[in-house]
Amino acid sequence: MAYIPNIIFALLLIGGLGFFAKNVLRLRRNINLGKDVEVSDNKPQRWKNMAKIALGQTKMVVRPIAGFLHVIVYVGFIVINIEVLEIIIDGLFGTHRIGLKFLNEGVYGFLIGSFEVLAVLVLVSVIVFWIRRNGIKIKRFLSKEMTGWPKSDGNIILYFEVVLMCLFLVMNATDSSFQALDSGNLISQYIAPLFSGLSESSLHLVERSAWWVHIIGILIFLNYLYYSKHLHILLAFPNTYYGKLVPQGQFKNLDAVTQEVKLMMDPSADPFAAPAEDAPDPEKFGASDVADLSWVQLLNSYTCTECGRCTSECPANQTGKMLSPRKIMMDTRDRLEEVGKNIDANNGIFVDDGKQLLGDYISHEELWACTSCNACVQACPVSIDPLSIIMDMRQYLVMEQSAAPSDLNNMMGNIENNGAPWPFNQMDRLNWSEES
């Protein structure tokens, strides 16, 4: 009977991790619905970017207030999670504060003491975050796309963190042997008096409850990630690794088009040649749905934590246009999830649902409002590239649907006919040199 708590703990742990693993596999499957893309080049630079941008948070601090608070929560998250290791060992083996067996009191006290201080700092930061989201009117948290679930999601994450931090501190405060140690209870010694009226057994009950709810809370939080914008805490790392390495202004050249252009320029090519019997279907140009995007773009969409820095820097959005780069990422993820669920419901095969990313989620008006200025790409703290999705969808509109705005069709007609976006004769191109 003495082993029942250990068994319950092991089952909870296996259940929690197992469910998480299942979601990771689903995530992987969905991301792999994207087209393959060459990203195996320049590994040293990729590792460096990951270390600087994800681990080092260099782009977060571009906005100092949110950036500084985020660094606290981030450091707190990583450091306090060392404590989870002790909790898991204690839970599985029925020990209590196993750390004290391996470390001397001073070191153990220093560790727990730093966790406690960080826990308070995290609490303060999270409260400021909550006020920023719900109290003061910060424009990027009030956009159209930030109503409903995205808004609740942001708050739920904050509540989770408040509860977890409080449980951690209460757990320490009500642990009489730990308090008796008087080393590392930097913060919890001031919470302990709140429980001074309780009997030894009630105190123990509170301590055990806090301990159990804390670890269960962590397991729930872990499994909440997949359904939340909070996935960024994991995906920021691969996402910054696979981020764009070439200059931001360099857009990829479509290989399929290069083949066709070469053929057109080849004087010996037979213009009337029928395609070979076994020729593959011509490739679709651009993107109208998630499967036309690359897997890195799909990874981008799961990594997005909806902070809205892209949208607040977007010139189109700032001047009241419909375009919001954040919404482009959120739409891509929502559609990808929809496609994933469709596949799950149909035994692994996608059954046409008559919907697609273009039109059903992202409108033409949004796409045509983009100035391709790269402000969104620059602003993203985790190397997401919303612009590449906009450009891929424009390619679909123009090359598959001939659905460009008429002004642009005129411009393109001019380039085709006279080599300039305006209707001037190419033979007049040097006239400026003779005008005074």
């Binding site: 200059p247 290069t258 380039i415």
Partner: protein, 263 residues
């Protein structure tokens, strides 16, 4: 005094068995747009004064394909690119300078994958090279102490990380360089990029160039300096819209230098 411009073409030099140091890629705006032509001429005056051996493609030049590519017409872009590359490769072009950040970005970044490998620089980078090599000298002249702000073109700044060359040149004019609240990596677009220059903007509260002009006017500059013919047009329109054209000038860096040197 109006000197006639010396503008040799690649074809002329080639016929004479000569190879210029650099090809000046004029671009469509620089060739046809009345405002941008002044920038082209100012730049040529500096090149002439510094005795730079350069040539243009003239009637053999065609749109770089940038607006087609940003509109999503990859076909048209690649047709333009391949045609231009064929011409430039035939002339064995090594180095290209252009006063248009869109042409600059496209030639520098997107042509190599299609067989066009050149050392491409923006004219502000080229002018800075000339200056540091002592081939041109600059004194403040009439710009001494003037408040000048530089509007970062997206395709020069963020797209290619060139922020300092134009600013160094402004400082060389002994002018007071002042920065707008959004500058350098966080510079606000003028509204012309991504082929927006050629279409009406989508519905919104205001036009992007007005927003950007307001940012510029906030810091009370005497001159808004630009490094892109499209930004120049957008900012000029913005200043006109705010009825400030009598007190605030919009000028390209090349025009500033040519004016300072009385060219």
């Amino acid at each position: 005094m109006e000197n006639t411009l010396k503008v040799p073409t690649m074809a002329e030099l080639f016929a004479a068995g000569q190879q210029p140091e650099v090809l000046f890629w004029v671009g469509c705006a620089g060739s046809f747009d009345d405002r941008a032509k002044k920038i082209t001429k100012a730049f040529v005056k500096i090149l002439n004064k510094a005795n730079v051996s350069f040539a243009v493609l003239g009637t053999e030049e065609s749109c770089s394909g940038d607006p087609a590519k940003r509109s999503g017409n990859e076909f048209l872009f690649q047709m333009q690119a391949v045609t231009n590359i064929e011409v430039m490769n035939a002339y064995e072009v090594k180095k290209v300078v252009t006063a248009c950040p869109h042409c600059f970005n496209t030639l520098k970044n997107e042509y190599p994958g299609l067989g066009g490998n050149y050392d491409v620089v923006h004219h502000t980078q080229f002018l800075k090279e000339l200056l540091s090599e002592g081939r041109i000298s600059m004194e403040g002249g009439q710009f001494k102490g003037k408040r000048i702000t530089f509007h970062d073109p997206c395709y020069l700044g963020r797209a290619n990380g060139v922020y300092e060359a134009p600013r160094d040149l402004i400082r060389k004019l002994d002018a007071e360089l002042v920065e707008m609240k959004s500058c350098k990596t966080r510079g606000l677009c003028c509204g012309a990029g991504g082929a927006q220059m050629f279409k009406e903007p989508e519905k919104g509260d205001k036009d992007i160039n007005i927003e950007r002009t307001e940012q510029a006017l906030e810091i009370k500059p005497e001159i808004i300096a630009a490094g892109c013919p499209f930004c120049n047009t957008m900012m000029t329109d913005g200043v006109k819209n705010k009825e400030k054209e009598s007190s605030v000038a919009v000028m390209d860096i090349a025009e500033l230098i040519a004016t300072a040197e009385d060219l």
